[in-house]
């Protein structure tokens, strides 16, 4: 069996998974209107960590999360030659070094933490995090490693703010995933981590079970989702089939839900085709913003906390159905015993990925 545990989150809502989860229980958002952040100095809604030190922010966040993670597992795992680090990120330390955003911070982290194996960066746009957790599972199942530390990290920069502004993809208020009035994303920054292992004893808190996940390309458009949800449909269908999970087995879906018109519509169509519209669902983008390469890890970590705390967390920003297929979006926090959950992600490049986690 493959285990997943030791989830950790750093975001504007807190520096630990527990702090972040407290904020989620209070339905607090990390998104605020940040002045002078946009192109032409406009104010932009961002989920931005305000007290980050100026230098080496990417490396700094990863170092911080590794330090807190080390208290949740057998510390020897971090330096073991049976461990590899998978980092999911789109832009790395872009603000320091656009020509080589990953080389210097990774080389420095290897020395600081004494990793036995060269970390691998998984950079597949917004599905990077889910893909990295799936890769962790695959690496261990194939016998290549016993433990994988998956860390997702991305930062807000002028570069990405201006980019999403140029696409007219930014919401003019805090993002409203799946809502009728949604009109774009709110960018976020943060860092998430989970540990995937074939050994439950390395975890100080009981781990959960990670099932095999899959990905599928839409084969449709590099920056727009498929109108039929084809890739997401195929990925979730495969993930459910290989794990012998039916639509009635799933207790909760942590959707991608960016808050753009087309993405959320696409997801509703895919979930309808999968007969999953009855399953309680949320998007956590209303809490963390869209943290790009970190999103899959941050949101999986938050969903794992939901299993542990037995609570369905409200999909922040949603009031009125705004997709052609009606989904069972969580309107208020609700106590619920969750056994099997589905996490999905979709992104630029046509990628879609999904994974299933089960309570043991």
């Amino acid at each position: 069996m493959i285990y997943i545990g030791a989830e950790e989150i750093i975001s504007p809502l807190g520096e630990t998974a527990e702090e972040n989860f407290s904020a989620m229980i209070e339905n607090r958002s990390g998104i605020t209107l940040v002045p002078n952040a946009g192109f032409n100095k406009g104010a932009v809604n961002l989920s931005k960590i305000l007290n980050l030190p100026g230098e080496n922010q990417f490396e700094g966040l990863i170092a911080s999360i590794l330090a807190s993670l080390s208290h949740k597992i057998d510390e020897k795992v971090i330096t073991s030659d049976r461990t590899i680090i998978l980092l999911s990120s789109t832009k790395g330390e872009l603000k320091n070094n656009m020509a080589d955003p990953f080389g210097p911070p990774i080389a420095s982290l290897m020395v600081r933490f004494n990793f036995a194996n060269q970390p691998i960066i998984i950079s597949n746009a917004c599905i990077s995090g889910v893909l990295a957790i799936n890769a962790a599972n695959n690496f261990i199942t194939a016998g290549l490693y016993d433990h994988v530390i998956v860390i997702g990290c991305d930062l807000i920069s002028d570069f990405i703010v201006y980019g999403f502004q140029s696409l007219f993809a930014m919401s003019d208020k805090a993002c409203l995933p799946f809502d009728a009035a949604r009109n774009g994303i709110s960018l976020g920054e943060g860092c998430g981590a989970v540990v995937v292992s074939n050994t439950s004893a390395i975890f100080k808190n009981p781990p959960l079970k990670l099932m095999s996940g899959t990905s599928a390309n839409d084969a449709n458009h590099i920056s727009g989702p498929s109108r039929t949800g084809e890739g997401l449909y195929r990925s979730v269908k495969k993930t459910m089939e290989i794990n012998h999970i039916s639509s009635d087995d799933i207790d909760f879906i942590s959707a991608h839900g960016t808050g753009t018109i087309y993405n959320d519509e696409m997801e509703s169509i895919a979930f309808d085709r999968l007969s999953l519209t009855h399953v309680p669902l949320n998007s956590l983008k209303g809490y963390f913003g869209h943290t790009l390469g970190a999103a899959g890890v941050v949101e999986t970590a938050a969903s794992m906390m939901m299993i542990r705390e037995e609570i369905l967390i409200k999909s922040l920003g949603f009031e009125e159905t705004g997709t052609s297929k009606e989904l069972n979006i969580i309107l208020e926090n609700k106590k619920s015993s969750l056994r099997t959950i589905l996490k999905t992600a979709s992104g630029f490049g046509g990628g879609n990925a999904s994974l299933i986690i089960q309570k043991l």
């Binding site: 955003p101 990774i106 950079s123 597949n124 746009a125 002028d158 570069f159 590099i222 046509g350 990628g351």
Partner: protein
């Protein structure tokens, strides 16, 4: 067991398929090297002109692999060919061009921004071929045969029948691209292992 059934190299000077040089760069040409290749090989895919260099390289070399191994287009289901690409500098060239658009040319260019992710090339190849399979783009400090062998085997043991792999080493004029096709069935190919991959990759990469 699996096999390397076809492979292509691209440097700043030449492009070769299965070890044979097909096109050499004409330094006198008004066209850049990627456009020279596109014209020389008589490709017809106007979207090529919108692509960044990572996607142009991925397009050209994946098309050359298809010409060298045409059976891949009808031997597999639409989700059985996985794409596994990597490089050292992510989408750095496109990132620098996009930055220039807002710092020097007055407005951020959406046409450049959409290429500021390294996995876009996988989307381009998937769209062109209607391939719905697994994709992964990794960033590594150098070409790593073990990574390609290990993760291709993962794909081949989880439903994929073939893996199109690529190392997209492009930083300005420094070009070292190596694209290769792995198939489970491939009597004409070389056995797929790190040692053979190192041999085919060539001295500049390993």
């Amino acid at each position: 067991m699996s096999f390397i059934t076809s492979y292509c190299h691209l440097t700043h000077e030449s492009c070769s398929v299965n070890g044979n040089v097909i096109v050499e760069r004409d330094p006198e040409s008004d066209d850049n090297w990627f456009k020279q290749l596109y014209k020389n090989q008589e490709f017809v895919y106007p979207k090529f002109y919108k692509m960044d260099t990572l996607s142009q390289a991925g397009f050209i070399l994946s098309e050359m692999i298809k010409r060298a191994q045409p059976s891949i287009m009808n031997s597999y289901q639409d989700d059985e060919i996985a794409l596994l690409f990597a490089n050292q500098f992510s989408s750095a060239d496109s990132d620098l061009r996009f930055k220039k658009s807002y710092e020097e040319h007055g407005t951020p260019s959406p046409a450049l921004f959409v290429y500021t992710l390294p996995n876009i090339v996988l989307g381009e190849i998937a769209i062109l071929n209607k391939w719905y399979g697994e994709n992964m783009f990794a960033v590594l400090p150098k070409f790593a045969p073990d990574f390609f062998v290990n993760y291709s085997q993962v794909f081949l043991s989880t439903g994929s029948e073939a893996v199109l792999c690529g190392w997209l080493g492009i930083a300005g004029d420094q070009i070292n691209v190596f694209v290769f096709l792995i198939e489970k069935q491939g009597s004409a190919g070389m056995e797929f292992n790190a040692e053979n991959l190192k041999k085919l990759a060539g001295i500049e990469l390993v």
